[in-house]
Point group: C2
Chain length 356, copies 2
C-alpha cells in the first residue's frame, strides 16, 4: 500500500537494513551477489529513499532558501531561473519566499526557512539597514549569500553587479554623445543598489555637469515613479527655458526609465533628440519599449553561478565557518539602444565594463 521503506526492501531480499542502505548509498563496498539482490528488490518494490528521514539523520536537507524582495520585479525571474538550475544541478531544492518589499515579512520568512532546516540561504535583502538584523542572525546559523544587493559590511558573502562601474558606463556613453545636462531618477531608501547607483551618479555626473547633483529625484523602482518624476523635473522652476532642461535622464532601473519615457513622450519631448533616457538591469521590457531603452545589463548567469559556487564552498568546502567572507563585484555591460542613440537603424551595440 504505502511507500516501501528500507525495511521492506531488506525483508524482501533477506538482509539487513544496514546492508540495503550501504548498497543504495554506496557508502561502503558490499559483496557482488548481495548487491545484486538488493538492487533487484529495491527495483521491484519501487523503493525511493525518504529524504525527510535522510535529512533528519544526516542533518542536511539538501535544500536552500531563496528570499526575494518582490518576485514581480521583472529583474528577478531570470535570476530565479538561473539559480534554481544551478542548484538543481547540485541536487539541491529551492524553497522560495517573497517578501513584498517588507523587512518584517522578510524576517519572518527567513525564520520560517531556518525552522525548515534549510542548509543555506540566498537572500536579496529588501533594505540595507532594516534587513541587516535578520540577515545577520540568519548568517550566524547557516551559510548565507547576499545576492544583487548587499546589507552592511561584513555580514555575509555577497555577489552583486558593480553598480558604480555600470553607472560610469552610462554616463560616459551619454557624455560621449554630447549630453551635458544630466538628471537622475532613482529610488529613495537605503537599498544598496539604489544607494550605490545614486552615489555613482552624483560622483561621476558632476564631473561632466556641475549641476548634475541638483537634478535628482528619488522615489521607488517603479514605472509610476518614472512618470511622476519626469513631471516634477519638467515642471521645474518658473521661467525655465527649454535650453535649461536636462538632455539626459539617467534612471535607477529600467522600470523607472520606461515610465520616464512614457511621460516625456506625452510632454512631446523627442527621444533621443531632445532628451536621452537610460535604465539599468536590462529587463525584457527595456527592449520592447518605444524607443528601446539604453541600459546596463547585469550578468545574471554569472551572478547565479557565483552565488551557487560560494554556497557550495561553504557547504562542502574545507572550512565552512572560518573561511573569510567574500564580496564579489561583477562587471556589467552597456547595451546601447534607440533611447540614446541618434540613429535608430544602427544595430544595438554593447560595451563591456573593464574587469576590475
Amino acid at each position: 500500500m504505502s511507500e516501501p521503506t528500507l525495511r521492506d526492501v531488506a525483508r524482501a531480499c533477506g538482509c539487513s537494513v544496514a546492508t540495503v542502505s550501504r548498497v543504495l548509498a554506496g557508502t561502503r563496498p558490499v559483496g557482488a551477489e548481495t548487491t545484486r539482490r538488493v538492487r533487484r528488490a529495491a527495483e521491484e518494490l519501487g523503493y525511493r529513499p525518504n529524504q525527510v528521514a535522510r535529512a533528519l539523520r544526516s542533518r542536511s536537507t539538501g535544500t536552500v532558501g531563496l528570499v526575494l524582495p518582490q518576485i514581480t520585479n521583472p529583474f528577478y525571474p531570470t535570476l530565479v531561473r538561473e539559480l534554481t538550475h544551478a542548484l538543481h544541478a547540485d541536487a539541491r531544492a529551492v524553497l522560495l519566499a517573497d517578501c513584498d518589499d517588507d523587512p518584517a515579512i522578510e524576517a519572518s520568512r527567513i525564520e520560517s526557512l531556518l525552522a525548515r532546516q534549510v542548509d543555506a540561504l540566498l537572500v536579496v535583502p529588501v533594505d540595507a539597514e532594516r534587513s541587516a538584523e535578520a540577515v545577520a542572525a540568519a548568517a550566524a546559523r547557516v551559510p548565507l549569500v547576499l545576492l544583487d544587493r548587499s546589507c552592511g559590511p561584513g555580514v555575509a558573502d555577497s555577489v552583486a553587479v558593480d553598480n558604480t562601474a555600470g553607472m560610469a558606463l552610462v554616463l560616459d556613453h551619454l557624455a560621449a554623445a554630447g549630453r551635458r545636462r544630466f538628471c537622475f531618477i532613482g529610488a529613495a531608501g537605503t537599498t544598496s543598489s539604489a544607494a550605490e547607483r545614486r552615489a555613482a551618479y552624483e560622483a561621476t555626473a558632476t564631473a561632466h555637469d556641475p549641476l548634475a547633483a541638483e537634478r535628482i529625484e528619488l522615489g521607488d523602482f517603479s514605472v509610476e515613479w518614472g512618470r511622476e518624476a519626469v513631471g516634477r523635473l519638467w515642471a521645474g522652476p518658473e521661467g525655465t527655458t527649454a535650453g535649461d532642461r536636462p538632455d539626459a535622464v539617467v534612471c535607477g532601473n529600467d522600470l523607472i526609465a520606461v515610465g520616464a519615457l512614457q511621460q516625456l513622450r506625452q510632454l512631446g519631448i523627442g527621444i533621443p533628440r531632445q532628451a536621452a533616457v537610460t535604465g539599468f538591469d536590462d529587463i525584457p521590457m527595456a527592449s520592447v519599449a518605444e524607443p528601446a531603452v539604453t541600459t546596463v545589463r547585469q550578468p545574471v548567469s554569472e551572478l547565479a553561478a557565483e552565488a551557487a559556487r560560494l554556497l557550495d564552498r561553504r557547504l562542502t568546502g574545507a572550512d565552512p565557518a572560518t573561511a573569510p567572507q567574500r564580496t564579489l563585484r561583477l562587471a556589467p555591460e552597456l547595451v546601447v539602444r534607440a533611447s540614446t542613440s541618434p540613429d535608430p537603424n544602427s544595430p544595438p551595440s554593447t560595451q563591456k565594463a573593464a574587469v576590475q
Copy 2:
C-alpha cells in the same frame, strides 16, 4: 552551542520531553505551573522546533511543490507571488521548480519533489500530452492541482482561466469596432492554453469572417515569433492588395502581440488605424508597449486563491482521495487599450466576461 532540542528544554525545566511537546504543541492540557515553567525554559533557550523531525514523525512536511514551465514567462511571477503568499498564510512553504519548457526536466523535477515528501503539488504542465504521464503518476501519490493549463481529462483538480470566453471577449470587441479581416498568431503544440485559444479563435472568428480560419500562424509564445509571424502574414500571396490585409491581429499571448506590434510598425502599418492588435494575459509589458496592447486579463489572484483552496480541501478536508475531481474555469476580463481603440486619449476600459 548547537540548536536546542526538546530534550534540552525538558532538562532545563525539569520535566519530560512529552510534557514539553504537549505544552508547545498544545495537543493536551497541561498544568498551569508546569506550562509556565516550560514556556520560560523554551523562551530562554531560544528553542525552535525542528520541522524535519516533526515532518518525519507526523508524515507531513507542510511543503508544497510548485512546478512551472518557465518562470521567465512574464505571466508567472505574479502567479508565483500570489501562490506563495496564499500558501504561507496556511503555514506552508513552497519548493520551486522550473522546467525550461521541457517535459523531461519536468518529470525529473516532479520526481525530486516527491522524494522530498512534499504534501502536495501545484503544476503548470509544460504540454498537455507529453506531461500527462508524469503528472498522472504524481497525482496518484499526492494531492495535485493543475494550474493555468490542464493536461488531459480527469487527471487531477484543475484551475484555469476560461480561454474560450477570453477569446470571445476579444473577437466581439474587435467586431464591434468594425474589424472584419481577422488573423491569429498563436503557439503550436498541445499546451492546453495554446490549443484552447486557437480553437476558440477558429470557432468564434469564423462567424465574423469566413476566411479567419485560413489566416493562422503557429509558433511559440515569444516576442520573436510575433515579429516573424507578422512578416509571414504580410508577405502574403503575391499581388495582394492592401484591402486584403488583415485589419485585426489576434495573438495567443501578450509576448506575441508585442512582437507583432514591433513588426507592424516597422512595416509602416498604422496601429490601430490599419490594423488592431490584441494579446492575452495582461503582463506588465502589455501596458508599456507603444501603443499599449488590448488584452485579456487573467484573474491571477483568484486563480491562486482557488488553487490554494483546492489544495487545502485535499490536505485537511474530509475525504482527501475520494472527493470527485474539480475543474474550475475563471472568467477573464477584457482590457481595452490603444492598440485597438481609435481614441488613444480615452482611458482604458475593462469589461468582465459573463460568469458562467
